[in-house]
Amino acid sequence: MKASEAVLMQSKAEIKIWKKQRDFLRKLNKFKWLLLMTLPGVAYLFINNYIPMYGVILAFKQYNYADGIFGSPWSGFDNFKFLFNSPDAYTITRNTIGYNIVFIFLNLVLALLTALLINEIKEKVVSRFYQSMFLLPHIVSMVIVAYLVYSFLNMESGLINRLLDKWLDKEAIAWYSEAKYWPYVLVIVNAWKHVGYLSIIYFAAIIGIDKEYYEAATIDGAGKWRQMTRITLPLIAPVITTMTLLSVSGILRSDFGLFFQVPMNTGALLSTTNTIDTFVYRAMLTLGDIGMSSAAGIYQSFISLLLILAANYAVRLVNKQDALF
């Protein structure tokens, strides 16, 4: 009796599993065309993103072109040792992080200010006009930006040197050979290019706020300033958090175009313009040092991954809804 009951139970369980499998296969069959549709995209990401991830082993190899990725001999942590013993490691890390901290803070403040002010403009046409004007720098390439900067900083005929000469009676400055000026130049250029764009994102968040809050605040006698600090800013805080979170987790990444094109790839400026990304490019293509340049790339990628996970975890602790994932 008992034995047959057990057999029955077992076969019931088997039938359940079998049914589940059958349902799954039916579902697979039903969705086969949809799954097939994803194939080109999945294959592309595999080649463009996942195969290079496997390439992290390059950083632990003594790469030579003849043997390729797999044939080249292992070298342990030699590439990393070489990288971190060179003075470059400190310079590029300092530059990348230093610029990013200034960019994040300055761009956030300027963009919020712009967004708050554009919200005060009542005429829609005028507001649109301003927006399209300060968004213009965002759509041009860094090559064009390099030309624009050159027209200001060129030693002989650049606008700034001419103005220095004319109005302040000062000597011309050799901008493209004096590294000490470039932190200012790059911060200004970066703000010029991105503040308009960021402010439009914040402005979109501000428009989304329910007008009733402001009406109630006005009745209670709150002035503009109080409304901004007590209503607008707290209500767009999630957007500010997300945007800042993204920037902070990218603190070891830099805009290659900004640091390569704008200083016109000038050797004399490297102490203040070399970042991890430009360093990797030069180490790979100019020096041909595949091992060390991939080690630098891995250093950047791993710390960035840790940062984004940590930043996201921190936000989850405070407010789950603001987290990225």
Binding site: L45, Y130, M133, F134, L135, G257
Partner: protein, 296 residues
């Protein structure tokens, strides 16, 4: 009270007028330089108000326009093909992900999302496209690596599908005996034209402005696109002469070339299409940024 309000408005408009001038001034400056007379530049430098106007720089560029025209051909070709293939792939990947019952939906989403979190770095990526998929020194190098599919755009489009196309629409289509492909082609694609236009615009700008792939993968000047031609010319103005038939001809051209102004004229020729198109797409571009920013 009223005067304070007016004062505030005045302050705000002053702020934005200055901001607008700041955004436009550099473009005006290079335009003014490009139409300046070479002699006025050597006397006064770059100036917003040139003392004498000359179109010598443009005439010089027109004299041998083949180089620029060919670079434009490369840019236009790569942009058109790139945008079309990219939109096609993005839609094909995003739509199935928006169907809740799709098998492996979560794994697929993670597969896409993870590419935004971690990368193997530029070196292995570069070697992949040199060794495994040999695109070096071909037009494909300016179409495929890095730009053909953006994970962010896929996720953006997926959330568009799940928010604005109700499941009932798809179910009704299937009930009426349409295949998944027919549903996709006849219902989904027409409904998703707005998001396709937005992503298409962003992708167009990315391809149009690209010089990075050209810098990495292209050695032969015959394949340079406009952005990279401009990069080369910025550091070395003589680059424009490299196609001259003989060194004697190159020397003659070099002597005739208005060096300072021709560089800026090339920059103007390089941004002109974008600046002319901007008034027509700016409204759409702004709404595209905001829809991407406040996604679910």
């Amino acid at each position: 009270m009223l005067t304070k309000q007016k004062l505030d408005q005045f302050g705000i408009h002053t702020f934005f007028t200055l901001f607008t001038i700041g955004s436009l001034l550099p473009f005006v400056l290079i335009f003014m330089v490009s139409i300046s007379d070479e002699s006025s530049i050597s006397a006064n430098g770059y100036s917003l108000l040139p003392t004498s106007i000359s179109f010598a720089a443009y005439r010089f560029l027109l004299y041998d326009f083949t180089e620029i025209a060919r670079a434009y051909g490369v840019t236009i070709l790569c942009t058109i093909i790139g945008v079309m293939v990219s939109l096609f792939n993005t839609t094909l990947l995003a739509y199935p992900l928006s169907r809740m019952e799709l098998p492996f939906r979560r794994s697929l989403s993670f597969y896409i999302f993870f590419t935004m979190l971690f990368s193997g770095g530029m070196v292995p990526w570069y070697l992949t496209f040199v060794n495994l998929v040999p695109v070096k020194n071909t037009l494909l190098a300016m179409i495929i690596p890095g730009m053909l599919l953006s994970a962010f755009n896929v996720l953006l489009m997926r959330s568009f599908f799940s928010h604005s196309i109700p499941d009932s629409v798809v179910e009704a289509g299937i009930m009426d005996g349409a295949s998944e492909f027919q549903v996709f082609q006849k219902i989904i694609v027409p409904l998703s034209l707005p998001i396709m236009a937005t992503i298409g615009l962003f992708t167009t700008l990315a391809y149009w402005n690209d010089w990075y792939n050209c810098l990495l993968f292209i050695d032969s000047p015959a394949l340079y696109n406009v952005q990279y031609l401009m990069t080369k010319t910025l550091t070395n103005i003589q680059f424009l002469l490299m196609r001259a038939d003989s060194s004697a001809q190159a020397g003659e051209l070099l002597a005739k070339m208005p060096r300072e102004t021709v560089r800026m004229a090339l920059a103007i020729v390089g941004i002109a299409p974008l600046l002319f198109a901007y008034p027509f797409f700016q409204k759409f571009y702004i709404s595209g940024i905001t829809s991407g920013a406040v996604k679910g």
